[in-house]
């Protein structure tokens, strides 16, 4: 488990847990955290693949580097590092530039 259980400076609260789906698999997340944080907490580091089949993770976690793009509820190119995870959300790895949705 990668969640920090105790910390010398920060209060570790117990937020409400919610369920979301990663590649169809049900995972637990904390309400108020980003999709990226929830995935890393669940041991998932590979967020997608580049067009040339390189595994892709994220780099900046503040919405700037655009390496964290994922398919969320069927929509491609969602910045998983600044998008809050929601109950029942379907998150999938994105390959390349993803599908354009209207």
């Amino acid at each position: 488990m990668r969640r920090i259980a105790f910390h010398p400076i920060l209060e570790i609260e117990k937020p409400k847990t919610i369920k979301f789906f990663f590649e169809g698999r049900e995972l637990e997340a904390f309400e108020g955290e980003t999709i990226a944080a929830a995935l890393v907490a669940n041991g998932i580091d590979v967020f997608g693949q580049t067009e040339h089949s390189r595994p892709r993770g994220f780099y900046c976690a503040i919405g700037k580097c655009s390496s964290c793009l994922m398919i969320v509820d069927g929509v491609s190119n969602v910045r998983s590092c600044i998008t809050l995870v929601k109950d029942g959300m379907q998150v999938e790895r994105q390959v390349g530039r993803g599908e354009i949705t209207w």
Binding site: R2, R3, I4, F6, H7, P8, I9, L10, I12, F30, G32, E33, T34, A36, A37, V40, A41, D45, V46, F47, T50, R54, P55, R56, G57, F58, Y59, C60, A61, I62, G63, K64, C65, C81, I82, T83, L84
Partner: protein, 600 residues
């Protein structure tokens, strides 16, 4: 269409400080921010800030964010999770991610305080998941309390690399090394000292050569470099790490400023391409201001001052009230903050925009170490950085930071009462207390400590020097808990080590095996006893201790002594337990064969 007096793009330290100034003067202020909460990068800073009380010195970054937000009033509107996508001549567009729509904003004045993004560097396999910017690791561990890995390589020894390394240790990760390509640590000496005394090696003239792994980081190759920063062949070595953290600087996010028509200049001292601005942080466009890292990579404290300047200037322009005095006060504040040697670069860069002035500061360092035998602070702060909580927190006026805030602190030991408040307040954790011969043959050392678990009185620990090397055994004499989470740990060390010991390590009980067959540790036995298994036979059944092939020959006595110590019973009372055959493991086959043989 949203109309507002003042639009602030980016609600970090600069944006929030500006909003406080305009909102308290009655101006309708709109903060648009991309993140899930306001505060910018402050929300993930767990260290105490340098500076002075007026700008939250000795307060931790995430607490500063809360304090700034609490000063916003009803004139402020906040749009979170919203990204400004365009600055046009007549309108600003912003994408609201929650509602999935573009909002149009029409402001009278604009502050662009969008900060910076993390610099990336090319090396083999640098695409692998597990390679993060240092800020990303901070976001994960300090904002969301998730650790992306256990063993980390830090690339870069600037303040961010040093601070994040320290915070990784606090969160329970290991930092295998900090590599620094130049011949000198980039950040403050006090930050470097914090990680060094915990045993983290800072490898100068070293760089990362490649990341190892297929799907994600499984290791890293580092190597030494020559004066031209080329890798010296044959010096490569592998580190087993699961996270590589890149802390090689920040790049100002100039996109919006440039598209708005702000003049952009290339000034490496400020971080690369930066927008033009004057002393009031106004760009070449009358109603557009910039502040914070976008205006030049610096610190959150200067970002707050810059933001305040913008807020006051905008309030003056829009209300017509004379605020010259407030403005000049803040400008003077900036000049003073930037007069130290670490701001040489920034001043040189800003010289391109307007003439720079700097106050002189004192380089005189404390010479004597005070009267031997008296409990007193030793201040190990030898660089001119803008900081003075040691002075302002001292109740007896014994410490002074003369004149300029960048001066080195001096202490008058005749006034010092040895209270230890300075050691607890110092943001650099650079103040230690010592007392030679507090007991015959023992010196006392008081260390600021920000880790868990806190040691207990009477506990034996391993004393470490400034480089994190073991120098002897120490005993915890007292632990003074502090509400600011910098606790003071009193250590008794062998005499002569008062000026040597600067850190300690708690021996890991989990590494001490009692039962070699079943791999049971001291800690596991103690925990089981605490849970109520206070009888040797119970412990055997619960932990399987003594039930391995050796039949308890190795562990029985140790287990009994742990039980005796914890339950305060004598070993005689506890007893030796029950022995049953076979006294040594015997194959069933041998038993069966033997039975057949015996029947003959």
């Amino acid at each position: 269409m949203v109309k507002t007096d003042f639009l602030i793009i980016g609600g970090g330290p600069a944006g929030l400080s500006a909003a406080i100034e305009t909102s308290k003067r009655g101006l309708k202020t709109l903060i648009v921010d991309e993140g899930v909460e306001l505060g910018g990068q402050l929300v993930k800073q767990t260290h105490k800030f340098f500076g002075h009380e007026g700008f939250y010195a000795s307060v931790r970054g995430f607490e500063i964010a809360k304090r700034l937000i609490s000063q916003l009033n009803e004139n402020v509107t906040i749009m979170n999770q919203t990204t400004v996508t365009g600055i046009y001549e007549d309108i600003i567009t912003a994408y609201d991610r929650e509602n999935d729509l573009i909002v149009e904003i029409e402001p009278k004045y604009i502050l662009i305080s969008v900060g910076a993004s993390e610099r990336f560097i090319p090396f083999e396999n640098n695409h692998l998941p597990g390679i993060y910017g240092a800020g990303a690791v901070q976001t994960l561990m300090n904002q969301f309390k998730v650790l992306p890995g256990k063993r980390v390589l830090m690339v870069g020894s600037g303040n961010i690399g040093l601070i994040v390394s320290y915070q990784l240790l606090q969160a329970g990760a290991q930092v295998k090394a900090i590599v620094e390509i130049t011949e000198k640590v980039g950040g403050y000496q006090v930050h470097a000292a914090k990680v060094k005394r915990l045993g983290v090696p800072i490898l100068l003239r070293h760089t990362i050569v490649k990341a190892i792994g297929d799907e994600k980081v499984e290791g890293a190759v580092i190597a030494q470099v020559d004066e031209k920063f080329n890798v010296i062949p044959g010096t490569e070595r592998e580190l087993a790490v699961d996270v590589i953290c890149i802390a090689v600087g920040l790049v100002p996010s100039i996109e919006l400023a440039q598209m708005a028509g702000v003049k952009i200049e290339y000034i490496p001292e400020l971080g690369g391409f930066v927008p033009f601005r004057d002393r009031e942080m106004r760009t070449n466009i009358k109603n557009i201001f910039v502040a914070g890292d976008l205006a030049g990579i610096e610190e959150a404290t200067t970002a707050m001052i810059e933001g305040k300047i913008v807020g006051v200037a905008v309030a003056r322009d829009l209300t017509g009230i004379d605020l010259q005095e407030d403005l000049e006060k803040m400008q003077k504040e900036l000049v003073e903050f930037r007069s130290g040697p670490f701001s040489d670069k920034v001043r040189k860069g800003l010289e391109r925009f307007f003439p720079q002035s700097a106050h002189s500061y004192s380089k005189d360092a404390q010479q004597d170490l005070g009267p031997t035998g008296k409990l007193r602070p030793i201040i190990e702060c030898f660089e001119n950085i803008p900081c003075n909580p040691c002075q302002t927190s001292c109740p007896s006026g014994a410490i002074t930071v003369p004149g300029n805030i960048n001066s080195l602190p001096l202490i008058d030991y005749s006034k010092c009462t040895g209270c230890g408040i300075c050691a607890m307040k110092c943001p650099g954790l650079a103040i230690f207390m010592v007392q030679e011969n507090h007991q015959p043959g023992r010196d006392l050392i008081v260390l600021p400590y920000e880790f868990l678990p806190l040691p207990e009185k009477g506990q034996k620990v391993i004393a470490l020097d400034r480089e994190g090397r073991e120098v002897g055994q120490a005993e915890i004499v007292k632990v003074v808990k502090s509400s600011n989470k910098t606790h003071l740990v009193h250590l008794s060390v062998p005499a002569g080590l008062a000026q040597v010991v600067r850190s300690f390590r708690i021996p890991q009980k989990s590494d001490s095996i009692v039962c070699r067959c079943e791999e049971i540790t001291v800690e596991e036995i103690e925990r089981a006893i605490d849970e109520g298994y206070t009888d040797y036979e119970e412990l055997r059944r619960y932990l399987r201790i003594g039930m391995g092939p050796c039949g308890g020959r190795t562990c029985r006595v140790i287990t009994l002594s742990i039980l005796a110590r914890k339950t305060k019973k004598s070993i005689q009372e506890i007893g030796c337990g029950t022995f049953r055959p076979p006294s040594m493991p015997v194959k069933f086959d041998s038993i069966v064969k033997g039975e057949i043989d015996n029947e003959k």
